[in-house]
Symmetry: D2
Subunit: 318 residues, 4 copies
């Protein structure tokens, strides 16, 4: 189809057209707020549980950034409310407890988090054609993270693009194309299909390590998916997309009106929940060791009424 | 064994003795911080994945309390940072996004959360014999929620005590005993065993509904486990304990020095992670409908360095 | 003037008219954001400094509510970041310091705070005729608390209405009228005039004490000013209005569209900054002891770009 | 007195001795928590009010840093709770209001704040000889910011050291000595005396402007007072010390155990409240214009039970 042919550095007109072609608003009813998660069935989940072989668990999340850094300029807030120096604070003999407070910006670049479908807008509209005004200062009214209230569970697939190319990590300016995704599929001996929770690695952690442990994504960039992957994701009926970057390349693309096409078209047109800033090095190692890159993946957001996303700790069960 | 014989309203001496008998410090090495989770093996987890039948997912969490209430006097903070009225806030044409901040006290009574092993102390010591001073105002140094960094996954078992007794909910002053747990096992046709993630229902949600939607656990109380269940949990090698209350009865028990024996002995002596304030009505319904009360359960805490617990949204896959 | 004649329980039509009559939009230029503070001159402030006699200072603020209560359902957050148990946290030998975090909702009923002119709207407009859309989710663009960036200093006048009537406190349903204000003036031997920072006492603290220390303003109400005081405040050219309640009576008035007329007409039409929830018992005592109810008053809000108000600790120098 | 003779780069032994000589613990009673503020009398404050000439007010505070920067790596949190897009959020016809949340670390380098006497310790003790353990994770028990609950008011004196030397700002490595302070006194025609609130300018704002608006105090340093000024401050009976830096030089001094001698000896031994990170350019301009560098200064901290300091907006009335 002509309109899904996009160049690596797509034009505004191409992305305008791509948005329209990939737009699924109304496909699952006018009130749908789950988007591409509708590609997944209970049978898919039951099947995914059958993939588990040895019972290893691996987290796909980074530590919450409790101090500011170049990757997380706005740190999370971890405050002890009572520590071991105040065991009598409750005034109840024998009750010796401590506790803390945790707070964070949901969509921070240094935080592993899921984007709800209310996180992005195109021309003032979010998924389903709902106006931006339905995200108000007292919370979102539509497309909130409550769409994930019962958890996201399914077949997780790691496409380890650097490994498929025999490198430790992708250079920051790389645009991952369909050929790269399919090369990884071939290397791993699997095929991404309906309902899958797709995770694409760019080797961000390895790149940071190679740079001595410090990587500023704002100035040094991050590899990401080229817009041509979007039709491919739709065709494969992927339910959710995650990555160790933000799926989009950083810094933003120069195409007018389309600085972050994966976020803009993926979330808004396709209803694709994104998980940003995953930690994938340990998963990649575990998958390589096990010789299989599919697993049962659980992504469990907190139940935040009105929320536009949530920090998460996705867990793979291999 | 005489010392594990405790009355429903145990004496201080009985609980002192019970603590000593159930104390497992050092069993898994001097540096162990996982406690009873050591009862669980990878094989257990792989087996648990095999329990999945139809792929239904059910959350075991309550909504985060974003407004104060009698159950959650200290509300969570959900603040929009940019909403639909500030789409140009990023100053990047076409980039229309919104975002929010979420913060909460970890151990709030209205919040579904996991208690790390640093949450409780007995006589100034926490699990493993570590002194309270290792939980400092800048975070815990030992027994943090990072022990759960790769997620907790295993066979979840719901013991639906009210259902076993043919009632909708337990009265607040009820002390659940071993006979009650075993009655539920029998009614459900299963047996709690090594590595299980045990969830005990008291019917809190049904009780709240019966009271018109308002239930103050501080003044009206919550049913919970009698201390005699603690040796039973140890014998069965349960890996983690959750419930719709706080596992302990509320308000606190009058036994001097032992106001919350399940928290005090369970967490500190036995290394038992607790999950408080779960929402179990939908799970109970799903289990009853499916005719099975075992499932694959995933509890995924955020990776909070120094944290003493975390709000969670446990997800059952049936 | 007929249109400023309002009954104690004014009608919607009367308050509509009152708004129009008292509206000063444009009087001090189209870009004005200081409103009634324009009534005050530097000469007024210099004169006010001359009122100081003995150098006594008295705070007019309540303690920040660091725990929830009936008066402050949403508590402030005072979190220690490092306390005395973490003196080595900075890693610098000899540098032994501690520190904390303080956060609060600005307009909480239990918090002494100033309302900026962006806090209220009437029919979608704020002071100066600016649309509500200029207060965005990323902050106010107009009429922010930055209008007070150099502090509010002037002649403070305490009108102690209960004292003028020989009672300890006003009953919650009392509507303070012009006659009450003038009775207090007469009793105190002064006259409120241009540029004054007017503080009206209802005896809230004494009433709380009389009730055993607990006073729920939501259910038990608070005395406040009748709408007929608004023209009087305008005529006297008062620069700012504060009180131990919220200046308006609580709970809200039944007049359709005008539940809180002092906030709605005072802030929006008249450009009157309000200070809510002051603590006035000690000031009343000091004034009575000194035999004078005028003093130098300083109200110093933090410089919060985009802020709609600020918690404050007003200080009287007698 | 030999022991107060300290070199610009003092030795550990010299500062040990200086601490002991300047220590005033017990001078105002064993329970004193006001320290050097005791040098100030009500008569002093009444006299200070008489210094006011023309009624000009000038803020000595910087804007709260609502975004992270090199000067304020941990930003304050200004969150709108309801903005102009949610005027109906209260559900009360006609009540159209908005509101916000403000939170901040108290002692941030980018924040104008007062240090309470509980902020610093020397060898585990704070002012008055109280142990560090009295600052607990649930708040300070002693020497809190509540010592300032009625405000700090008095004669403010600006010593404009750069102006006295005919330069725009001091180089970052400059150690201001007694001769510099006295040169400024002479240039300004005044003498610092008992009860004064002393403000020392280093020209930080001018230096930042000269560097194009960006000044990283961590790497580029800040001028500050040499330890030899401490005996001078004691002799002059200064009640409080503020500055546009942190009074100490930055980065920390290499003297073992004494990295920040003004904080360590000033706060702990002398009971001197410090105000850090003031904005002094406008005040310096106003003072120069008026030809007088003394004024009425009001520093009003919020009433935070247990607080170790507070962000403030000090206001000068000239």
């Amino acid at each position: 189809m002509a309109s899904t042919e996009v160049h690596e550095e797509a034009t505004t007109a191409e992305l305008d057209a791509l948005f329209d072609v990939l737009c699924v608003w109304g496909r699952w009813g006018d009130d749908d707020e789950r988007g591409a998660l509708n590609h997944q069935t209970a049978a898919h989940r039951a099947h995914a549980a059958g993939l588990v072989v040895d019972g290893t668990t691996v987290s796909l999340a980074r530590d919450l950034p409790v101090a500011p850094s170049v990757e997380a300029p706005v740190a999370a807030q971890h405050h002890m409310l009572t520590s071991g120096d105040a065991l009598d604070a409750q005034g109840l003999p024998g009750y010796e407890a401590c506790g803390d407070y945790i707070g964070t910006e949901v969509h921070g670049l240094g935080t592993t988090h899921v984007d709800a479908l209310s996180h992005m807008f195109v021309r003032g509209l979010m998924y389903g054609g709902r106006p931006a005004s339905e995200v108000r200062s007292d919370g979102a009214r539509r497309n909130t993270v409550m769409s994930l209230a019962d958890g996201v569970v399914g077949r997780g697939v790691l496409l380890d693009v650097p490994a498929a190319h025999g490198v430790a990590f992708l250079e920051p300016d790389v645009a991952i194309g369909v050929a790269d995704l399919e090369a990884a599929e071939e290397a791993e001996g699997l095929r991404v299909g309906p309902g899958d929770l797709l995770v694409v690695s760019t080797g961000r952690d390895a790149r940071r390590a190679a740079q001595g442990g410090r990587l500023d994504p704002f100035t040094e960039g991050l590899a990401g998916l080229a817009p041509e992957c979007l039709p491919w994701l739709a065709e494969r009926q992927v339910a959710l997309l995650g990555g160790d970057g933000i799926s989009d390349r950083m810094p933003f693309r120069p195409t007018p009106q389309w600085p972050f096409p994966v976020h803009q078209i993926g979330i808004v047109a396709m209803g694709l929940h994104l998980v940003d800033n995953m930690a994938l090095d340990r998963l990649a190692q575990a998958c390589a060791g096990a010789g299989r890159h599919e697993f049962l993946l659980t992504i469990s957001a907190l139940r935040i009424p009105g929320g536009t996303g949530c920090p998460v700790n996705p867990v793979a069960l291999l």
